[in-house]
């Protein structure tokens, strides 16, 4: 079934888009990542112009995140206080990121910067997560009783001022920490055109020491606002949000996110982390391969803007 997308100005198979939305929705529900880091490249691969893929992807992620947050709230897995702090940082960071994006665009290497940041961040995050979670699994299998947690450890970050109590996360840490994580992820969001969940989730687990189950819902909560901001900016500045494409992705994604949240609740947090790490590394390797491999065509064609 072919359907014409008015903003992307192309015709696509509706069922294929629906399926893509569903697959990304499941990931979103299980891992608490928006799925933008998969959705955006896949849409581009189907021939959707990159700008439309980024803008529309953000719009679609809002819906799956709302759906996911509601599902997680029912299970009491959203720390709104933590989410709020991350959000404030995220808004500051994304504003700075938009400015940085403009500078890089002037220099003419924005595409390469985007690809390289994907490879670096996906690689580092995925690698660290995989090592850590595999170690945890091996350790818990050898000596079931001896389980080390981050929560009790004393690090330099616990000496920071403005301490706040995050009851849901069972943490008493400086408010500057989630704020800083938010700023950092906000910058990435603007440059890479994603919700930033794949960086946010590991940062919350390893840097802030939040329990994995709370991390997912809280991350999704924050992603709603970041992607809403991206959607608005893309719609007003570039007119690259295709609501027809977004609706097709949405229908698949909202259903997928619900199933994903159920699947995620049934998995152990170590297993969840291994799976997410494997996924992140797979995407990283694909992107790295594309950068290094000899392209089919060394020439590319773009419509000059303005």
């Amino acid at each position: 079934m072919q359907i014409y997308l008015p903003i992307a100005e192309m015709s696509v198979n509706a069922l294929l888009i629906f399926g893509l939305g569903g697959a990304v929705g499941v990931l979103s529900g299980v891992f608490g990542v928006g799925g933008g880091f998969l959705m955006t490249p896949l849409l581009m691969f189907m021939g959707v112009p990159p700008a439309v893929a980024v803008g529309t992807g953000a719009n679609q992620i809002i819906a799956s995140s709302v759906s996911g947050v509601i599902a997680h709230t029912r299970r009491g897995n959203v720390d709104f206080r933590m989410g709020g702090m991350l959000l404030v940082g995220g808004l500051i960071g994304s504003t700075a990121g938009v400015w940085l994006f403009a500078v890089l665009q002037d220099l003419g290497h924005i595409d390469l910067t985007i690809s390289l940041s994907y490879v670096v961040f996906l690689g580092v995050v995925g690698g660290l997560m995989l090592i850590e979670s595999l170690q945890t699994i091996v350790r818990s299998q050898r000596k079931g009783s001896k389980h080390r947690s981050n929560a009790g450890r004393h690090m330099w970050i616990h000496g920071l001022p403005f301490k706040m109590r995050f009851r849901k996360s069972k943490l008493y840490i400086s408010a500057l920490l989630p704020l800083a994580v938010g700023v950092f992820v906000g910058v990435l969001t603007a440059i890479m055109g994603v919700g930033g969940g794949f960086v946010m989730v590991p940062a919350m687990i390893y840097l802030l020491g939040m329990p994995t189950q709370v991390v997912v819902g809280t991350s999704l909560f924050q992603i709603i606002f970041v992607t809403a901001n991206t959607t608005f900016l893309q719609a007003t500045i570039n007119q690259t949000v295709d609501v027809v494409l977004a609706m097709l992705l949405l229908l698949g994604a909202v259903v997928g996110a619900q199933f994903g949240a159920r699947v995620g609740a049934g998995l152990k947090s170590e297993q969840l982390r291994v799976l997410l790490a494997a996924l992140v590394i797979a995407v990283c390797l694909k992107l790295a391969y594309d950068l290094v491999a000899t392209p089919d065509d060394v020439f590319t064609l773009v419509l000059e803007a303005g």
Binding site: I7, T236, V243, V255, D297
Partner: protein, 272 residues
């Protein structure tokens, strides 16, 4: 028509006697019809050696649009070669070339071209080389190799430019916006011609021109330009206009739709 045939037959006695004798009764009748056709055509088209029209002048892109065919048909005042050129609106394009930087492929040089037709396809009744010389084809920009792109700016030395130009044509062909080969024009009795113009699903919108050339002895003896509008209509067009003219409202609406959909899905799934 019948009356004209009679008048034509009235002229017959003026012809050389051997010819009248040599033609049989049946053959004579056939020739009368042919002469009659010629006469009628001449009577109506003495000023226009070439007429052509399209089956439709507006291609409407609706939500279910998957590409379309438009029929071009016409007539000439006698034997000759017919060449059609379908040209989309002019655009400005940047061609970038990747180069190996260490181990990474990155964009390096770029060339900007103006006057690049968004869509381009040539139709002819036989091979272009047989119809006219390169100089003639070039003058009328017939064939992708004769498109007169305007070089706007370049970051490379002149010697690299042909590679960029070829890449521009090749990439447009890959998008199905430029024809890879000349498509056929069907001629009927050296007088009537027709051609099927195909527009793919990703056809660029805008004002197109369909140029029809009549060639005789390797030169253009007549030409006609027919406009063709390709535009979005209905829901798709309304949405496009809304997105471009009231982008703030559109952005807010897109966010609202997404939130409501997500919420609705969560509500539905709770009951299940």
């Amino acid at each position: 028509m019948g009356r004209r045939a009679t008048t034509a037959s009235g002229r017959r006695p003026g012809r050389p006697r051997w010819m009248v004798v040599g033609v049989g009764v049946l053959a004579g009748l056939l020739s009368l019809v042919a002469v009659g056709l010629l006469a009628s055509a001449r009577a109506q088209q003495t000023v226009v050696p070439l007429v052509a029209d399209l089956s439709k002048h507006l291609v409407a892109i609706t939500t279910g649009f998957t590409g379309t065919d438009v029929l071009l048909f016409g007539a000439t005042d006698g034997p000759g070669d017919v060449v059609l050129v379908v040209r989309g609106p002019m655009t400005r394009k940047v061609v970038r070339r990747k180069e190996l930087w260490g181990i990474i492929w990155a964009n390096r040089d770029s060339v900007t071209y103006d006057n690049v037709p968004a869509f381009y396809q040539v139709f002819a009744n036989r091979a272009l080389d047989d119809i006219a010389q390169t100089s003639v084809l070039s003058r009328h920009q017939i064939g992708t190799e004769h498109l007169a792109f305007t070089l706007m700016s370049q970051s490379v030395t002149d010697s690299f430019v042909p590679g960029f130009r070829a890449a521009l044509v090749r990439l447009k062909q890959k998008q199905h916006h430029y024809g890879i080969r000349t498509m056929p024009v069907t001629m009927l009795a050296n007088r009537l011609f027709r051609a099927e113009l195909h527009f793919p699903a990703n056809v660029p919108t805008g004002l197109y021109s369909v140029e029809v050339y009549l060639f005789r002895d390797g030169d253009v003896v007549s030409a006609e330009i027919t406009p063709l509008v390709i535009s979005k209509t209905g829901f798709g067009a309304d949405l496009f206009d809304f997105a471009h003219q009231r982008s703030v409202l559109y952005g807010l609406a897109a966010i609202a739709i997404a939130i409501v959909t997500g919420w609705a899905a969560a509500a539905v799934f709770r009951r299940v």
